[in-house]
């Protein structure tokens, strides 16, 4: 017994046997090999490569033209059959730094780096080819992480059963999409059903009303412009060119929204000129 132990010890130098050393070395080699498959930037910017190529639908809202009539919200409610506490689109009264009030209407921003897409555990929220952030209502489990993640409060949860028929129908339009079940989160989808149907019939979304989101069509002052951001001839590209300044909401979060705003003129006037 004692002899055996000493023979073992003679194999060992500095307490590490050759076998242990080989084990450790092969483990390290395997780890180094693995690093060739996983790059450090693997997780960053996931799934958005090539997102800016091809048709990308966007919206421009001219705050100077908005009169706060809420027709965009009403049309949205009628078309998507939304209860009054489940608005995809909201119009609020906000103020600029110098205290001037203006109306801010907010659809879903259809972000290119959407927090809701990043966080959804079942990929029920996804990017369409055309940049619209869409939902698979059969897959959503209703965990509401997307609601927590959205910096624009654009997401609404189905707390109750869907309503029979919106009070705003047929005044502002009729229901065009099927109801969503209780217990899923839903969102504005730029009336993607209109865009898809319109493209089949050779219509141009943003130009032909049948192929354009209901809120854009319903706006009585033309404050909302819709179209392909990558097509220089589209209404939105022309409107963006015309506007001196455009901004997007909470740009500092790098969500890259596809909804642009023309800021109120009062925001860029020095305070002492107010009331002129």
């Amino acid at each position: 017994m004692k002899r055996k132990r000493t023979s073992n010890e003679s194999e060992t130098e500095n307490g590490v046997s050759r076998r242990d050393f080989l084990k450790l070395a092969s483990g390290l080699a395997a780890a180094v090999g693995l690093t060739q498959f996983i790059r450090l930037d693997t997780l960053a910017g996931s799934g958005t490569e090539g997102q800016e190529k091809g048709v990308k639908w966007g919206m421009l809202i001219d705050i100077n033209k908005c009169i706060g009539c809420n027709y965009c919200t009403y049309a949205c409610q009628a078309v998507n059959n939304l209860a009054d506490d489940m608005l995809y689109n909201v119009v609020t009264t906000e103020t600029t730094q110098n205290g001037t009030e203006y109306f801010l209407s907010r659809p879903c921003m259809q972000c290119a780096e959407a927090p809701c897409v990043h966080v959804c555990p079942v990929a029920a929220t996804y990017y369409r080819e055309d940049g619209i952030v869409a939902m698979d209502y059969d897959r959503c489990i209703g965990c509401r992480y997307c609601q927590v993640a959205c910096p624009y409060d654009a997401r609404v949860f189905n707390w109750r059963q869907p309503i029979e028929k919106s009070e705003l129908s047929p005044m502002f339009g009729v229901q065009e999409v099927p109801n969503r079940p209780r217990g899923v989160v839903e969102k504005c989808h730029f009336c993607s059903h209109r865009i898809d149907d319109g493209l089949v019939r050779n219509l141009t979304p943003g130009v032909d009303p049948q192929a354009t989101p209901a809120c854009v069509v319903a706006c009585p002052t033309g404050a909302r412009v819709f179209g392909d951001l990558n097509d220089p001839e589209s209404p939105i590209s022309k409107a963006r060119e015309q506007a001196n300044v455009t901004l997007r909401l909470r740009e500092e979060l790098s969500t890259e929204p596809r909804v642009y705003y023309v800021p109120p003129a009062s925001a860029y006037r020095p305070p002492f000129q107010k009331g002129e």
Binding site: S46, T95, R106, V119, R139, C150, R182, S254, P263
Partner: protein, 424 residues
């Protein structure tokens, strides 16, 4: 060798009453009440709760996070017993695995009610979205719950009633099932080191991700920070081991005197104390970075507004900085303190701290949320009041936890066969 189990009894006059049946009946009553709430929420939908589009995560999520955190001792002791091979912790390690299983199953149960579509709970396992922290957590928790069940089976199989009872004596089928289970338990027990490594990996992954669930959300000000994942891991170790210390005093020192030496209890306290002190250091550093050195107007405003409606700053300084620092110090010096009543009070602090941290974390970003208007963004306060349904279901899952623990504390032998052999 069967340890003698002492049941806690209450003295009424000259009578000494075993309150165990009454306690079980009380818990079953709470579970029955919770089932009423469960029926209401499953048939009516989540509008019966106090949740809203502004505060979509609330009481149930806090229970879920806390239950997972307080089950944190299971992975710590899986490593200590089966990887480091410190066999003197084997008996408390068994209790740790039980607490882990109870914590995770409680969390799974309460999450089920929190989902808008409870019957789609299996979707993350099938529809993968590996970039989502919640997906990663779900996968880890599902896998880890399986690991915990594998670790728990040999412990439950120790109960003499399972190998020899009315059913196995009467029916051959049950005899065969028993033999198969015993075989499986032995096999699983021999795989303990492998299970310990898997358990450690899965636990570190999802305990950290639970913090990251909140801290990746850049739009929520207070939540957006880098140290939350580490804080969640440390507080799971601190709170989880503190709970193990607390309950192993009850299960072993009071009910089974002599089974576990006092030194083991001191070591439990020391592990918890060290983790508590580390956590407190990180927590204060995190405060300095997010609130003191940063000149983030929104975070300052969020903190200010939270202070107007709740003792937000006070709960930080008292509950998460001062008390844990004191408790951590005493727990670390447990071998010198030697006063178990005092140590129990101290051990309650890391447990409370783990729950408080998760409660505050969840609500701070939701109650005080930042508006999206471009020129004068500000912080608005949202409100949330839990309804009876939320309390009923919370009571139900907590009663489940207590019921299972009470039964295990009374009936499981917690004996190690190895120890028996070494005695002979």
């Amino acid at each position: 060798m069967q340890a003698i189990v002492h049941y806690p009894k209450v003295r009424i006059g000259k009578l000494s009453v075993d309150i165990f049946p009454y306690w079980i009946a009380f818990l079953l009553g709470l579970i029955a009440f919770g089932l009423v709430g469960a029926y209401v929420v499953l048939t009516e939908g989540l509008y019966v709760t106090g949740l809203s589009n502004k505060v979509p995560w609330a009481l149930w999520i806090t229970i879920d996070l806390s239950a997972i955190a307080l089950g944190g001792s299971a992975f710590v002791f899986g490593v200590i017993v089966h990887l480091l091979g410190l066999k003197r912790y084997e008996v408390v390690g068994k209790l740790a695995i039980l607490l882990g299983f109870l914590g995770y199953s409680t969390a799974g149960m309460v999450l089920l009610f929190d989902l808008g579509q409870p019957f789609r709970f299996w979707h993350p396992v099938v529809y993968w979205q590996p970039h989502s922290l919640l997906w990663e957590i779900t996968m880890c928790v599902v896998l880890y719950l399986t690991v915990l069940m594998a670790e728990l089976l040999p412990i439950v199989m120790e109960h003499p009633g399972i190998s020899d009872n009315f059913l196995t004596r009467r029916f051959a089928v049950f005899c065969k099932i028993r033999t198969a289970l015993i075989w499986l338990a032995h096999k699983l027990h021999s795989f303990s080191p492998v299970l310990a490594v898997i358990g450690l990996t899965l636990s570190l992954l999802h305990q950290a991700s639970l913090g990251a669930t909140y801290s990746v959300l850049s739009g929520r000000g207070l939540w957006f920070n880098q140290s939350a994942p580490v804080q969640f891991v440390l507080s799971a170790v601190a709170g989880g081991v503190a709970l193990l210390f607390f309950l192993s005093i009850v299960v072993f020192r009071i009910m089974r005197p002599g089974l576990v030496k006092d030194d083991v209890f001191y070591d439990l306290a020391r592990i918890s104390g060290a983790a508590t002190l580390l956590l407190t250091y990180l927590r204060v550093w995190d405060w300095a970075v997010t609130n003191y050195y940063s000149f983030d107007r929104e975070i300052a405003l969020q903190t200010q507004l939270l202070d107007t409606i709740a003792p937000y700053s006070l709960t930080f300084w008292l509950g998460q900085a001062l008390l844990p620092a004191v408790a951590g110090g005493f727990l670390l010096a447990a071998g010198r303190v030697r006063n178990f009543r005092f140590l129990l009070v101290m051990a309650a602090i890391p447990i409370f701290n783990a729950i408080l941290m998760r409660w505050n974390y969840n609500f701070s970003g939701l109650i005080a949320s930042i508006t999206y208007d471009p020129f004068t963004p500000t912080v608005v306060l949202n409100s949330y009041t839990p309804t009876w349904v939320e309390f009923a279901i919370a009571g139900m899952v907590l009663s489940y936890w207590l019921l299972m623990f009470s039964l295990a504390a009374r009936y499981l032998p917690f004996q190690s066969p190895e120890k028996e052999h070494s005695v002979h």
